[in-house]
Amino acid sequence: MAAIVRAHGIHKHFGALHVLRGVDLEVAERELVFVIGPSGSGKSTLLRCLNRLEEPSGGRIEVDGIDMLDRRTDINRARQRIGMVFQSFNLYPHMTALGNVALALRQVLKLPRGEAEGRARAALERVGLADRAGHYPGQLSGGQQQRVAIARAVALEPRVMLFDEPTSALDPELVGGVLQAMRELRESGMTMVVVSHEMGFARAAADRVVFMDHGLVVEQGAPEAVFGAPREERTRAFIRQIDRH
């Protein structure tokens, strides 16, 4: 299978801090890769390097055949192919759910208003929130906000979706709806890279689990392998801790 994401030798320094120390990550088309690891392991930074929200200090990143680090690459065009969902939703509070989803359709894809809103409505429908199109983020629960954020990214029909701890800021009873939306996205064949602590979801849905620690990929493999029979001691220690909760 062809790789959609090819990241090689990614380094990232924040001042004196060496957060990523040469990470390789390849993601095949339609694959769901789960990235786990203790906080500070660099997993979120890696994700944010993939769409260049964070500028890597070194390495090569190719997404859907586009060299993300080439100065000549039109980064705004490239980002249309890479959807991202954030831990804190980051919905625009001054726009309705529909407005949130339609903004990039209108401003980036330059669709006329009617067409943009039609596509935005369809995207909201996919996450089960068609009836909340006119609501402002402040009028929605955290779970609903996160589903709107998913719709906002999906509406651009990206080739790959990045999820940065999408359920960490949610009350437990609201997590299910978000995971459901992600599961449906997965079933539609979307390529996904997910940074998350939702181990149950990882076991059920992931094709591959990548364990990171101290800015390096320590171990990776099928979920049964990584969770059931981890080879590295650091992986074992981390999974023991997670399972206790």
């Binding site: 705004n76 980002r79 959807g83 980051n90 001054h94 990039a104 401003q107 906002r152």
Partner: protein, 226 residues
């Protein structure tokens, strides 16, 4: 001084009738002046606030100096300097031109600082979300950051606008016939303070609704924070 003398000196209906046309023309000038300097100041403010988002020290330091200078100078001094000082450099400016330049510099600096604080009050995640969907830096600023910055800063923006409208009275020193200038004219012709009282009442009637609106907004923001 008897009550009748007092009433005659400050509240003479007869004088008011005589001064009415000239006061009205002054009021119109004040409104026109406000309609010029408020947008001009806002434009200058947006410009400064956008420049403030540039990190380069070559922009940052001159910008800081600019804002500091024009916030420190008394607006009256600035206006007189532009009107009476620039001609020495061979630059003749009309009264309107001098007011436009003076207010652009002074008011722009104040609006700029308010908007800069507003821009900084918008969480970084907002820009990240916008950029992650392919919006350019400028589009993210225009559609996501500035609308929130203006909304967060609305009470301060309105408050500053109140000050600006009141400040248009300094245009009287460059003989621009706005409300205060005309009231002073009428007062010196009639030897009576009624026109000044009338001007004060006109300012009050003009601005009091804005003051009320401002109070309501401030209370709502306080309530929102609770």
């Amino acid at each position: 001084m008897s009550w009748d003398d007092f009433a005659l000196a400050f509240f003479s209906l007869d004088i008011l009738r005589q001064a009415c046309p000239i006061l009205l023309s002054g009021l119109v000038q004040t409104l026109l002046l406000s309609a010029m300097v408020v947008p001009l100041g806002l434009f200058g403010g947006v410009l400064l606030a956008l420049l403030a988002t540039v990190r380069s020290p070559f922009v940052r330091w001159p910008l800081m100096a600019w804002v500091d200078v024009f916030r420190s100078l008394p607006p009256l001094v600035l206006l007189i300097f532009v009107y009476a000082g620039l001609p020495f450099a061979g630059l003749e400016v009309s009264a309107w031109g001098a007011v436009a330049i003076g207010f652009f510099l002074n008011t722009g600096a104040y609006y700029g600082e308010i908007l800069r604080a507003g821009i900084e009050s918008v969480p970084a995640g907002q820009v990240e979300a916008a950029r992650s969907t392919g919006l350019s830096r400028g589009q993210a600023m225009a559609w996501v950051v500035l609308p929130q910055a203006v909304r967060n800063m609305l009470p301060d923006l309105i408050s500053n606008t109140l000050e600006v409208v009141k400040l248009t009275s300094i245009a009287s020193v460059v003989a621009l016939p706005e409300l205060l200038f005309q009231a002073r004219q009428a007062q010196s012709v009639t030897f009576n303070a009624t026109p000044i009282v009338a001007a004060a009442v006109a300012y009050f009637v003009l601005l009091w609704p804005v003051v009320r609106l401002l109070s309501r907004l401030e209370n709502r923001q306080l309530a929102g924070r609770r």
